[in-house]
């Protein structure tokens, strides 16, 4: 009967109870929506970095990674590549010859870049480079060695399509090599660090000068489903214990950092919302308790135990939270669906964002479990904030309460 009394008490002051329920709803709505926006940014960023650049898994020789030195190849790279391609969880895989930290020169300027020697057909399936071409051709239409370059880098080097570049590097035999390429295509990426810092050439062209002794020094693997990441990574590591098999988390620690701090900020933001909510609930429930002083005094006088009085006040709050929280979740879900479809256009700030791998248009999205988590947090906050008013209620002395008549 105590929950019943509490339920009816909720409806005694409808306006006030509705305001509490609504403030819970709006607070959680805001928090959830904010979370969805940051999740949308985060997901897009992950997407960009994984799909445009690092893929899910990469294999290198340990010294390649330790020294950032392209002269350490993967022995029998073809064998590993062929066997990993047979795994049904693997969407696509490719091998590359990568030269990190190389100088690329145009007639006007120079820049430090990574040179990726790729197999154009395979690369298409792994990083979709072809689809991101904004100008020119995909490694065709020239007799000399072709290069595909980020549009931003081309600007920096003041080079146009058909322009010539030279890269110079130490090959596996420790001799300095200079190679000349013709720019045939320009590409774009939502990730401007990639666009400014990576050029693509054909693996076969590099192989001629590199004298690696193996077909590749990097294998990149794209999975169909991120959830298989650990399993496939373990399997590949077992296949080649001599190589270093790493996931995007290890390959792009800065991305991981951004992602982690994002969720931190999100929780801080939600924490602030919850604090504000709690403050409001404490106030409202205190008011509800104080204006019922005589009634509560009477209840304790006739023998209602304190724990029941306490429970009654708690129940009243819980009911309001249980009305407000799902309402907030519903509002959040609807708005996230709607805005998720149209997207939030941040073109005005896009220049800054894209260097972190962000796109200009954010599509808020949130997994179902977060809705539950936030609703749970909201209800927990409401329960927490009811404790003080409930405690106030049971601390009342019946005589004093009754005397207020």
């Amino acid at each position: 009967m105590v929950p019943l009394i509490a339920w009816r008490n909720v409806w005694r002051n409808r306006l006030r109870s509705l305001l509490v329920a609504l403030s819970i709803a709006v607070g959680l709505w805001g928090g959830t929506f904010f979370m969805a926006v940051s999740w949308g940014m985060y997901a897009h960023q992950l997407d960009t970095v994984i799909n445009d650049q690092v893929s899910h898994i990469q294999v290198h020789a340990p010294r390649f990674r330790d020294d950032d030195d392209g002269r350490y190849g993967i022995p029998e790279a073809d064998v590993l590549l062929d066997s990993i391609r047979t795994d049904s969880r693997v969407k696509a895989a490719t091998e590359r010859i990568v030269l990190p930290g190389v100088m690329v020169q145009s007639t006007a300027n120079s820049a430090g870049v990574s040179v990726l020697g790729i197999d154009p057909k395979d690369e298409e399936k792994v990083t979709g480079l072809h689809d991101r071409l904004t100008d020119g051709t995909y490694f065709t239409g020239t007799k000399s060695a072709p290069m595909v370059m980020g549009a931003k880098l081309a600007q920096k080097l003041k080079i146009d399509l058909r322009g010539r570049t030279v890269i110079s590097f130490l090959n596996a035999q420790d001799s300095l090599v200079a190679m000349s390429f013709r720019v045939v295509g320009l590409y774009h990426s939502g990730n401007s660090a990639l666009e400014e810092g990576t050029v693509y050439v054909r693996r076969e062209d590099l192989a001629r000068q590199m004298h690696l002794g193996t077909p590749a020094n990097e294998i990149a693997v794209l999975l169909t489903d991120e959830k298989d990441l650990d399993a496939v990574q373990r399997k590949m590591q077992a296949m080649r214990p001599d190589m270093r098999v790493e996931s995007w988390k290890e390959l792009s620690p800065e991305l991981r950092l951004v992602v982690d701090s994002f969720s931190q900020y999100t929780y801080i933001f939600i924490g602030i919302i919850l604090l504000a909510l709690m403050f409001g609930i404490v106030n409202t429930m205190l008011m509800a308790v104080l204006e019922r002083t005589r009634e509560l005094g009477m209840l304790m006088a006739i023998g209602m135990e304190r724990r029941r009085v306490f429970a009654m006040v708690m129940w009243e709050t819980v009911y309001m939270a249980v009305i407000g929280a799902p309402l907030g979740m519903l509002l959040a879900w609807v708005s996230i669906q709607v805005v998720g479809r149209t997207g939030i256009d941040l073109t005005a700030f896009a220049a800054g964002l894209s260097s972190y791998g962000f796109d200009a248009v954010i599509h808020p999205a949130l997994a179902a479990n977060f809705y539950l988590e936030i609703a749970g947090l909201g209800i927990a906050a409401a329960i927490l904030s009811a404790i003080y008013p409930a405690w106030k209620a049971v601390r009342m002395r019946p005589t004093e309460a009754l005397r207020k008549i």
């Binding site: 009394i5 005694r12 019946p398």
Partner: protein
Amino acid sequence: METPVIETRGLTRTYDADTVPVHAVNGIDLRVEKGEFTAIIGPSGCGKTTLMNMIGGLDEPTAGHVLIDGEDIGHKSANAMIAYRLHHIGFVFQAYNLIPVLTALENVSFVMLLQGVKKRERQQRAQELLASVGLMDKLDKRPNELSGGQQQRVAVARALASRPRFVLADEPTANLDSHSTNDLIDLMAELNRKDNMTFLFATHDQRVIDRARRVVTLEDGRIVKDEKRG
């Protein structure tokens, strides 16, 4: 001699006012036997409520003792005191007796719920009690749908629901018109006669005083007169 239902020994309650202490109840020795129908009277401020509250375990004496059925109820923890009141004492206050969100029937059965009485029994007894106070047709009415007199009758039914040792009623008719006052005092007298239920009420209403079978008069926290009638 039989153990009295209520006995106070040198009962004293002093309020520490800012200037001089107020001796609201000042050394009261009172014995109330089972089945008595007693009025405590006296001018406003003479200490009636303070005395009733101490007898009902709502307030603690500064000195002296309250014995219920020979047992000293002092030295109980606050929680134990709440439980004691629930099982042994019926209360009727001047106002705010009822839970506004519960119907008459629910209000009466609520105390039995607190006592742990089974639902079927609660229901039945609450109905019987409301029938005995003449409100059989108001079972499902909430307090704000009842007149002041009807509310006080529900309060009397509620006070009896817990099968208390006695009923304490502090100014139960203060908010009632004369017709309702007569009805309520008739009702209590009837319950007193029929069930031998002990009633102790504080009042300054002459109509109630006239019906009491014992009248204890207080002045400045002391008993100045104690007369038994008929």
